[in-house]
Amino acid sequence: MTTPTVPPGTPPPGLSAEAVSKRFGTVTALHDVSVHFPPGQVTALMGENGAGKSTLLRILTGDHQPTVGRVLLNGTPLNLSSPIDARRAGVRIIPQEPEIIPHVSVAENIYLGALPRRAGRRLDRAELRRRVTADLARLGFDTVIDPDLLGSELTAAQRQLVEILRALTGAHAAQVIAFDEPTSSLSEREAEALFSLIAALRDQGVAIIYVSHRMKEIFRLADRIAVLRDGALAGVRPTSATSEGEIVRLMVGRDLSTMFERQQAATGDVVLSVENLTTDDVDDVSLEVRSGEVVALAGLIGAGRSELALALAGDSPVRSGTIRVNGREVRLRSPRDAIRAGVGLAPEERKAQALFLHRTIRDNITLVSLGRLRHGRFVSKAKEKALAQDFADRLRVRAPSIEAQVGTLSGGNQQKTVLARWLARRPELLILDEPTRGVDIGAKVEIYHIIAALARDGVAVLVISSELPEVLGLSDRVIVMQNGRVTGELSRDQASEEAILALAMADDLTDTPHPASDEPTGVAS
């Protein structure tokens, strides 16, 4: 279905990426991707986290420019230097959270920036109303949304509809509309409403690009599925001629790297025991981590893993359930309580959540250990330096000295500084949230070694990672989450990328009956 070459004179309608590659510095995000999005069809774009979906979407909608290759609309090359160019050309992306002005009407929201006016710049309300009514009728959405509603009164699906209407009614009517995980913040009913909208758009001949992780909705909605893997196109399949199993294989099929040298450590007593933990984002989670054990938390982005980590680190209120550390029940009211109980967290966003970029490596390492370095209220400079130097050396933090500002370090060295902070404190349980994100390959391997060494020293380690090879290579056990719940647990022998993905998308794969799917949902018939 890809169209790398086109005979002149008969341009294929729709949007095409032609041999598109994108490099960021030394990292290749996309490699030689050619894919076609024909009008009147929904083409789903799938792939694991980091497979290049977002990069491709951004190139198609003008947010990034390809390093090599080009984007064509109806056979004509587009020169997209910004999203505004893409809009003018008729290519629109619908954001997950559309910008809706809360205190003005739907009609004004739709015609924002192009409101009809009368002499003296007065708003022509009658004309606005006439136009909106005509547009809604023409597009078949007149039963779905009342143009007099205020922006603040809209449901999530209606907000997306307003954005879609903006795309269809402006001076540059959209021929291509892309949706990026549109249902991630929608309820089931709202999602159904959105699917009807998308189907209506397709029937009007719009080319739809649909990015989602959710198998079930893709098989309901899409005509074709394009799968990206490691920045390359793994394949395009018509939905009618493929299966969920085949798509998962296309997404995964990759060599397991040989970067891991982890032997099963002798696991000891249970260090962390969580029973029926419920917070605002996590639902009824139970798990155990033993001393000397590395347990991975796998799942898709948004599965609630980071939220679970924050709850275990005392930064998210526990609604119900119990947390025990070394057999003692702990009540975590603040991160301080968790640190006292022996829990350390290297959070997901190390710059935003862990580091003090203007301070020195020494400062950053010793911050949680100052209590041990004090004489009275005064911090012993000599002891502090010795501690920071010791751990900076052990973790091979590369910098001119421990007095260097952390903000000047590379991602890998910053991450090692965060790890050094916790190792200096000697935690019972260390939670590492995406420890190798944004880290170059050399530092990655070093971090893997550090994690293995920690486990050998008897620390209980809980690793969150969205990179499946990392999950498989590092862990003794894998716990898989979806929508804030644990959907399964796999031993080292049971764990495979297919098995993890199956659990991570469990709700979509197991065909649970769908209450809203059989009845009309009141949206665009």
Partner: protein
Amino acid sequence: MTTQTSPASGSVGTQLPPRRAGRIRVVLDTIGAQNLSLGAALALMLLLFGYLDPDYLSWDNLQVIAEAVTIVGLLAVVETVVIICGGLDISVGSQVGLASVVSAMVFTSAGANPLAGMAAALALGALIGLLNGAVIIYGRVNAVIATLAGLAAYKGVAQLISDGRAQGYVLTDSVFIFLGRGKIAGLPFMVWLLILVAAAVHVLLKYTDIGRNLYAIGGNATAARLAGINLNKYLIAAYALSGVVAALAGILLTARTGSGQPVSGSEGLELQAITAAALGGCALNGGKGTIPGTLLAVALLGALQNGLTVQGLNTFWQNVAQGLLLVAAVVIQQRRSGRRAVGLPA
């Protein structure tokens, strides 16, 4: 980027950079570029005004400068603490006025008891600081807004209880006379007080875990919280410290002028204090700043103001000069940090 790319050897911290200018470099690093340029600007200004008027550099005039900046200096020192932990206190000027009135009025009504007057002012200062902190933390009000409200309200309270007039004459009392005019070892007592407070705060910031936690809170509040620091406690304490020291400044104002002043002598002090802190290297979004830097900036502003007065320029021009100096300093600061940001690894 400064990262060493050679494979790690054991002694990462000792091998680089090649230090040719060894000792000079160490001295430069401890003083800091910011303070160095402030010091240079101060020296230049002293030389310039000294050249224009030889009396400017006389011991007497330098003492006049020092006395004149004491009250602003005290406020700038605590403002530095508040700014370091990511806050701002623009109510300090009004707090000074309120403390001044209260110290004089309690002094009078307690039968010319200076200790009662001072204790009342300091206690009220602490209370106001706690109130500011509580409104900001528990009311979740932006610090600027909360203390802007304080700026108006505390001034109003001072005017209400004083009836808008100077209250109570204190210069019958030897303690107040000593506070305002006394000298120890040839230096005015007020200046000693500033040195004492500044030194104490400097030690607190630089050598204790409390100071380190304050920098951490201002540098990255989320990271500080996840590192187990009790943000609320520290922030409220910072505002309380600000209140107590503002009250101390209010007592000094009473001692200098001889009576409790609700507005005159304290109005606009908050802007001068914030100017000094910013000029001295505080980042207004927190996490950066030092007491030596702030003191240098206070000295610079005082020297400028005095020099312009000696040269006979009117106060309007002094305000303009102060404003220009602040803008210039912040622009330079931004440029410098901007270059560093560009140098970040991709």
